[in-house]
């Protein structure tokens, strides 16, 4: 199974068309292998993006350079996945 060690989910706040446009440059680039969890809209809603560990620094640099505010909503994705997997296996055992 694919692992997501070190990957994080960023919530990026966008206020208006200009910021959406800047963010779209980042999201449309193939370089960072970003996975958009919640897409940009034209209505200033936050955007959630899964950032692979190798892209954390460049993405942070880009966001800073474009003055785009963000927060880390999921710091350790793999930990959540491991817990989920463990619970599923435990439940399977219980049901059996």
């Amino acid at each position: 199974r694919e692992k997501f060690f070190g990957d994080q989910v960023f919530r990026i706040n966008v206020r208006g068309g200009d910021e959406i446009s800047k963010l779209s440059q980042l999201l449309n680039s193939d370089n960072f292998k970003l996975d958009v969890w919640k897409s940009p809209s034209t209505f200033s809603h936050p955007v959630d993006v899964l950032v692979p560990s190798v892209s954390l620094q460049p993405v942070k640099s880009f966001l800073k350079s474009q003055a785009l505010q963000y927060s880390v909503t999921i710091e350790d994705l793999q930990a959540l996945l491991d817990k989920e997997d463990e619970e599923m296996q435990h439940n399977e055992g219980q049901e059996r």
Partner: protein, 308 residues
């Protein structure tokens, strides 16, 4: 359940299908498991039909879940809802009267290939697993593949995109199976699609900012449903048309349903608002399902009282 199925846990496709069969077996006068087609990788597409009057093509409700495979709370809520329907029929006046007038069809796993892939290879897979002839990338977005402003705003013609619409409308066999079933039936009045996450309750359109002809009524119904949902644990939902509540999205199931005569067409984006996102812990399955049920019942009661 009596068969030890823990509704407060996530399950494999096999376990969900087994439990659907159990429900049909335990309540043969009310529920039947029907195969409506197969997936790209040849897995069965099973629905549960809840009906109190077999043999008649009565007004019907379609509950769609799991079309985006990584949104696990959707499939989990759906199988809980199946058990809830059979448990409450004959006891709860609302669901009893709904089923006296209408049939309910529940598809808990609309994208079985994707679901299995999330459990075996990549937990964050969203699309189908169909092959693209001119690309190494796999799958199309099954919620951009419906014949409603197909290939319009909010979709992509790039097979590697998460919102790739597919080579043509209904190219995804999972989508076509549902379309064919609903069209052959001909008497669906309500279509509800369960997704996550964001806590939204939306109605058409996704493909245009223009108001749907029934937007006012749908908005009112949705607000009542959101209020009912919130009454349980205070979970707040935002209500509005798809296009202006999230983003433009063409080729979606809800828009297709509406444009094909199914007036009461809604999309739920279930818990949460981003703290866990797609990885909602299993201990939130039952609270989510219980509150969602109140919203679903509100919508179905309105449909029951406003059949057209």
């Amino acid at each position: 359940s009596n068969n030890n199925f823990n509704y407060g846990a996530y399950h494999s496709l096999e376990a969900i299908y087994h439990e659907m069969d159990n429900i049909a077996g335990e309540f043969p006068d009310l529920a039947r498991r029907l195969k409506i087609g197969h997936s790209f990788e040849n897995r069965s597409l099973y629905v549960l039909k809840f009906s109190t009057a077999e043999g008649k093509r009565r007004p019907a409700v379609w509950l769609n879940a799991g079309i985006h495979s990584r949104e696990w709370i959707s499939q989990a809520t759906a199988i809980w809802t199946a058990r809830k329907i059979v448990s409450d029929y004959g006891k709860d006046p609302a669901i009893t009267s709904i089923l006296e007038k209408m049939d309910i069809f529940l598809l808990p796993v609309a994208n079985p290939d994707g679901y299995v892939y999330t459990q075996t290879k990549n937990r964050l897979w969203r699309k189908t697993r169909s092959l693209n002839s001119r690309s190494p990338c796999i799958g199309a977005d099954p919620n951009r593949n419906w014949n409603s402003s197909f290939a319009g705003a909010g979709t992509s013609n790039n097979p590697c995109s998460e919102v790739y619409h597919g080579p043509h409308a209904n190219s995804e066999v999972e989508v076509k199976s549902v379309v064919d079933f609903i069209q052959q039936h001909g008497n669906f009045k309500c279509f509800i699609d369960l997704h996550s996450y964001s806590q939204l309750l939306m109605y058409p359109y996704g493909y245009t900012v223009n108001k749907a002809p029934d937007a006012e009524e749908l908005d009112e119904v949705a607000r009542c449903a959101a209020k009912a949902l919130a009454s349980l644990s205070g979970t707040k939902y935002q209500v509005g048309p798809i296009c202006t509540t999230v983003y433009p999205a063409s080729g979606s199931s809800t828009d297709w349903a509406y444009d094909n005569g199914i007036k009461y067409a809604f999309t739920f984006e279930l818990r949460d608002t981003g703290h866990y996102g797609f990885l909602l812990p299993a201990n939130q399955i039952i609270p989510t399902a219980e509150e969602t049920w109140l919203g679903l019942k509100t919508i179905m009661e309105h449909v029951r009282d406003h059949l057209y």
